[in-house]
């Protein structure tokens, strides 16, 4: 029982961070109908960015470095948008899949050449919290807290600010937003930037407690897909809840079954949701 609770807490805390990554994926899809297959490598780049900005590199405190990663992620996302997304936006879905997949391959290719695929480790520790059955490293707690904070900030931005509402307007009706004087291309670039930023930041948070390589993104990209389907494609709030569900599963399953069963159960769930609840568990978003 103690082990169960400890694993559950562990999983839930991770779930917030997974949810944050998935929010990036689902935001981009919700706004421009593009499934960003470069999502995984961007997560991995976030890991490397915090690594090289942080103690092993420039020596910034990892949580300060996180802010820099956010800014870099935003800029990098806007660049990806103009190079590989903007021109295929009105094309068939296959075009954007291929286009973002090539970005994925390029990042992995260049990343492998520069960083090799040897795992890196931040060796970052700020103690832990031990009481009752729980023994939680503070990095996990802070990571989850930052994820919640960023998610809340995104929500406030989208629903309370003029620029955020413009993103929703463009997502809802691009032609009409253009008619109202909203520069839709810049708004789409900003959305892609924010989506990329969320992925990079979640990668950076993960790097504060797990080792990683340029290939690590793939695993988290798959998790993001499962989460996004759980929460409803295009629904950022659903993504955070989906992240918690996935995190909880990852925590609990290994208590009862060998750990290799985790992905099996995750993807069975993925298929079941697609079959019976294509709009996600919470019904929102688009089918």
């Amino acid at each position: 029982m103690d082990q169960f609770i400890a694993s559950l807490a562990d999983g839930l805390l991770l779930g917030f961070v997974y949810g944050l990554a998935a929010m990036g994926l689902t935001l981009i899809f919700g706004v421009m109908d593009v499934i960003n297959l470069a999502h995984g490598p961007i997560i991995a780049l976030g890991m490397f960015a915090v690594f090289f900005l942080g103690p092993p590199g420039l020596g910034l405190h990892p949580y300060v470095a996180l802010l820099v990663v956010a800014v870099l992620g935003l800029i990098f996302g806007a660049i990806i948008y103009f190079i590989s997304v903007h021109r295929i936006l009105d094309g068939p879905h296959l075009s954007s899949l291929l286009s973002t997949f090539s970005v994925n391959m390029m990042i992995i290719g260049v990343g492998t050449a520069i960083f090799t695929t040897t795992p890196k480790n931040m060796d970052f520790s700020i103690g832990g919290l031990a009481f009752w059955a729980l023994n939680i490293p503070f990095t996990r707690l802070v990571g989850a807290f930052i994820a919640v904070l960023v998610a809340a900030a995104l929500y406030v931005f989208l629903y309370r600010t003029q620029q955020g509402k413009a993103i929703r307007a463009v997502a809802n009706n691009r032609a009409a937003s253009e008619l109202m004087g909203i520069p839709s291309t810049m708004t789409l670039a900003l959305s892609f930037g924010i989506g990329t930023m969320l992925a990079a930041v979640s990668g950076a948070i993960i790097a504060t407690f797990f080792s990683f390589s340029i290939l690590s993104g793939g695993v988290y990209e798959l998790k993001s897909f499962v989460i996004v389907v759980l929460g409803g494609l295009g629904n950022p709030t659903g993504a955070l809840l989906g992240g918690l569900i996935l995190g909880a599963l990852e925590g609990i399953v290994p208590v009862f079954l060998p750990v290799s069963w985790v992905p099996v159960i995750e993807f069975v769930l993925f298929v079941l949701i697609l079959m019976y609840r294509p709009n996600g568990l919470f019904g929102g978003g688009r089918s």
């Binding site: 003029q162 509402k165 413009a166 929703r168 307007a169 997502a171 809802n172 009706n173 032609a175 009409a176 937003s177 253009e178 008619l179 109202m180 004087g181 909203i182 520069p183 839709s184």
Partner: protein, 237 residues
């Protein structure tokens, strides 16, 4: 009289399909101009070309004497050229109030937000009761009101309305035409595309009759309403 918008010999269309052939139209300051004609003659195409959603293959569009042919739609909106598009094109997932806010996105519109909001509430009291409702869940008439209201929030210098009355109940059509008259009395320059030719000629100062992508006839609306050809072809008299 001052000409605020001038369309000179414009040809335009969708890809290979040319719809407009050498069309010229002028809008005078403070006047309500209407664009009438059968379905598919290019009225919407003309508006979309003026707005910059379609790029003309030939000809120019000038706004306050400045050539704006290649200017993007959002930049034109920022200068006060506003289109209320056919089929309303509301932000259906957003609330009524958010739609009005998005109407006032540009700098010139933001500066007059409070005054425009009051005016819109006063013209469309029904919208004021539904500020928190998702716009997509309202009735067709209410959506059309919101589309016009959103256009007014943009602080238009020229307001173009594509198919104001399409699919609306007759009493709503009358209400909306009353609003048009008021806006005209307030001195707003407007271009109206309308399938109800009789109403359009009754409310407007000047009219263009489009046929096969060309201006077939033009003149003061009162005169066109008496024209034999117009009466036979469009008014069914």
């Amino acid at each position: 009289m001052t000409t605020v918008l001038e369309v000179n010999n414009v040809s335009s269309g969708y890809g290979e399909v040319q719809i407009l052939w050498d069309t010229s139209v002028k809008l005078e300051k403070g006047k309500l101009t209407s664009l009438v004609g059968a379905n598919g003659v290019g009225k919407t195409t003309l508006m979309r070309t003026i707005m910059g959603l379609l790029k003309p293959t030939k000809g120019t569009v000038s706004f306050h004497g400045q050539d704006v042919t290649r200017m993007s739609a959002h930049a034109k909106a920022a200068h006060g050229l506003i289109l209320v598009p056919e089929g309303r094109q509301l932000f259906t997932e957003m609330t009524v109030y958010e739609n009005l806010e998005m109407g006032a996105f540009t700098k010139r519109a933001k500066e007059n937000f409070a005054a425009n909001l009051d005016r819109v509430y006063e013209m469309f009291p029904r919208l004021k009761e539904r500020l928190d409702q998702k716009s997509g869940t309202m009735s067709g008439g209410e959506q059309q009101m919101l589309a016009v209201a959103r256009g007014l929030m943009a602080q238009p210098d020229i307001l173009m309305i594509d198919e104001l009355s399409l699919g609306l109940a007759p009493f709503l059509v009358l209400d909306l035409f009353e609003i048009l008259k008021r806006l005209k009395d307030d001195g707003l320059t407007m271009l109206l595309v309308e399938q109800n030719v009789q109403m359009a000629l009754a409310v407007s100062d000047y009219a263009y009759v489009l046929a096969d992508g060309k201006v077939e006839l033009e003149g003061p609306s009162r005169e066109l309403a008496q024209n034999e050809h117009v009466r036979a072809a469009y008014l069914g008299i």
